[in-house]
């Protein structure tokens, strides 16, 4: 049975987490298993960054266990507009995070567990880690049909994906992290991972959709805690280390100096949206106004999350041409974001005469523009 250490072990941890200076001897050799007390995706991703940047993993490997409250996590070079339903996520207060590793988009909630294997760059070995997980699952429930594919997915019953993998290789260290579906909300998962945005052209790395299943559906006696314990147990056995899991608090600057800066950076618009590879939007929509249907064609180039080039094709004279060109001018250089677009649309409207007809047409156009973002 794996014992959970209390938080007073964190002081001990702060010694072993720092890069050893000359003469320092680590009290733990071989490996370390840590689990986050936080369910905040940004804090937990920051822990990964911190360990990657600050820990010396020459003689020590680390397994990091974490879970997040509802969030969509995209890969380093992905396009969130292509990957998920940002509108729905805003409505449901589901966070969007961009991780530093590659790979595709995943949905996290408390029914999903995340596992990060930290090693030196030389010892980076995803297959080994995934086989460890499968071994742990089979030790827990021998009847489970789980195996690792050559795409580094873990499949249940040969058809359902229960785990996806991503990785980052740094100067001297590497990490491989993966998800594991225990009891996540599949309904929310499939609805947020479906993008409603049309006409996007981009060379961002795409996700490969898959049918998923929770382990809980296969065996309702399974819980996240049981899975975490089983995997920690197997890791401890294979690395011949203490079975204890040390709890860590990602908000603790004394244990992780500089971590709040990393956490903040992961939440900036510039990182989450601004790192999207250049893409273009070429789409049209219909607007129903009184008794007519109007076709509008929109073309935009978006770079670093900002509109670089913009063209809106409207039926002639439906709106004053001067106002339309002002809109295009304002959009150019602004963020490809509903908030920013709504704000600049409202600002432009304020300098117009108060004409109800004009106002309703303007609002209709701008509302539609916003739905593209």
């Amino acid at each position: 049975m794996v014992l959970q250490s209390s938080l007073k072990n964190c002081l001990h941890l702060s010694c072993i987490l720092r890069t050893p200076k000359a003469g320092f001897r680590s009290t733990t050799s071989g490996g370390l298993i840590i689990q986050s007390v936080s369910n905040d995706v940004y804090q937990n991703l920051a822990v990964e960054d911190w360990i990657h940047d600050h820990m010396n993993l020459e003689n020590r490997q680390v397994l990091f266990l974490w879970r997040n409250s509802p969030a969509v996590v995209i890969g380093r070079h992905q396009n969130p507009w292509q990957e998920c339903n940002l509108r729905l996520m805003r409505q449901k207060n589901i966070k969007l995070a961009r991780r530093r590793s590659g790979g595709g988009t995943v949905y996290h909630d408390l029914g999903n567990i995340n596992l990060t294997f930290f090693t030196t760059r030389k010892k980076y070995e995803r297959m080994e880690n995934l086989k460890l997980i499968v071994k742990a699952l089979k030790a827990l429930r021998p009847q489970l049909d789980v195996h690792v594919t050559d795409r580094y997915d873990i499949l249940l019953d040969r058809q359902y994906k229960i785990s996806g993998t991503a990785a980052k290789l740094g100067r001297a260290t590497a990490y491989h992290h993966c998800t594991l579906l225990c009891n996540a909300d599949k309904f929310v998962l499939s609805s947020v991972l479906k993008s409603p945005y049309k006409g996007l052209k981009s060379n961002a790395t795409p996700s490969v959709p898959a049918s998923v299943r929770n382990l809980f559906e296969e065996d309702p006696s399974l819980t996240c805690e049981m899975l975490l314990d089983a995997i920690a147990e197997e890791y401890a056995t294979q690395h011949q280390i203490d079975h204890r899991i040390t709890l860590i608090n990602p908000a603790d600057e004394t244990v992780f100096p500089g971590i709040s800066k990393k956490t903040k950076e992961l939440q900036t618009w510039e990182w989450v949206y601004g790192k999207t590879p250049k893409f273009s939007v070429s789409t049209c929509f219909n607007m129903v106004y009184k008794d007519s249907v109007l076709d509008v064609k929109v073309d935009m180039d978006v770079k670093h999350g900002r509109i670089e080039d913009c063209n809106i094709d409207l039926p002639e004279q439906w709106l004053p041409p001067a106002l339309c060109s002002e809109l295009v001018k304002s959009l150019t250089g602004s963020r490809f974001s509903p908030d920013e677009t709504s704000t600049l649309a409202a600002t432009l409207l304020r300098v117009c005469p108060h004409d109800d007809e004009l106002h309703s047409r303007w609002n209709l156009l701008c509302e539609n523009m916003v739905t593209l973002m």
Partner: protein, 105 residues
Amino acid sequence: ARKFTDKHEWISVENGIGTVGISNFAQEALGDVVYCSLPEIGTKLSKHDEFGALESVKAASELYSPLSGEVTEINAALADNPGLVNKSCYQDGWLIKMTVENPAE
């Protein structure tokens, strides 16, 4: 002359401009490159600065500047054809060109 870093990046300097790429060993270790993230022209780099990343089927891997200088050109062909890094790491798969601020480096 092509010089190598211990991280398996190479730089070849001609007329004060250095062309940077990754070695054959590095491209083999990475596997098929699916995306190249490169800096903006004009970016100033110090030796060892992270200037971009390559994403391959294996992982996202950071690129470190072998020298200090300013980015003068990036290989636009890699946007549509990131596999050039694997196929021709010393020729068509070059990553960036930069000025060489400190020839001693």
